[in-house]
Symmetry: C2
DNA sequence: AACAATTATTAGCATAGCTAAGCATAGGTG
DNA sequence: CACCTATGCTTAGCTATGCTAATAATTGTT
């Protein structure tokens, strides 16, 4: 396969992913959270408990930015922030049951909206998309 | 295919797309633009010229928010804002040559980074991803 | 001509992004 | 041990981004 073909595929994959997430983003209105808070909560639920700096790194923002987002999530009862007993400079941020539930509801709305669209495809086409998802997982590791 | 299988595929596709765009977002640092401005510029370049409300709709923000983003892009010489001659209440927002160039450079960085990762796959796997991109395009139309 | 609807901007608020600076703890090195 | 540096987080203060409400200008419709 020539270089230009690979680049072409990369371009189409990029555009298609943007389109997909733009489409699904419309489902987030009902969450009651702003986009950065929802995104941070999702990292805490799936990768947590973790330190503030690890969370900031995952979200590609600076620690002060994440510190205030965590303030809001703690205030809303969706995560807890506790001093790390092993290193008292650091904090451990963990999801609460309410946080996990709120996130799971939002995720279910997004995934449900996507599943609805997948219903219009053939089994063969859905399997092709499943295969694509696996490959994407692999190359972003 | 059972409902649960479709939902499972939707979930993995969703997660994989998020991962992909998170990875590629790191390439945007060099653009000199904030994320909302870069994203708005990309719509103007690919879908423009268009009205303010159409641009706000595409970006899923309210008109006042987009009005200020356009202010900044005009200030930076990346787009023009002119009164619509057919309806003098409205505006026509169009990309300048500088805007198209800046966007294309950024897109090339993202696509290049993705192409680099695709290089680690087999031709067969790359074609599977190309097929997945086509299907995503179709179901988000 | 008067009025209603549409399009965009302005004003004013909360949130999100940054850097710089501060505080506390950890961990070395004399 | 005493200091000194490095690390982790927060606070302070700025700009940018999001919203709603209100205003201005134009269009279209009685």
């Amino acid at each position: 396969m020539i270089e230009d073909e690979i680049r072409d595929i990369a371009g189409r994959l990029h555009a298609a992913s943007i389109r997909l997430l733009r489409t699904l983003r419309r489902e987030d209105d009902g969450s009651g959270l702003t986009a950065p808070r929802l995104s941070a909560l999702s990292v805490v639920v799936f990768a947590g408990p973790l330190s503030l700096s690890a969370l900031a790194e995952a979200e590609q923002v600076r620690p002060p930015t994440m510190s205030r987002i965590v303030d809001a999530l703690v205030q809303a009862g969706l995560v807890t922030r506790e001093t790390d007993p092993d290193d008292r400079r650091g904090v451990r941020i963990a999801a609460t049951a309410a946080g996990r539930m709120l996130l799971e509801e939002g995720r279910a709305r997004r995934v449900g909206a996507l599943a609805e669209r997948l219903r219009g495809l053939t089994d063969y086409e859905r399997r092709a998309l499943a295969r694509g998802a696996e490959l994407l997982e692999r190359i972003t590791r």
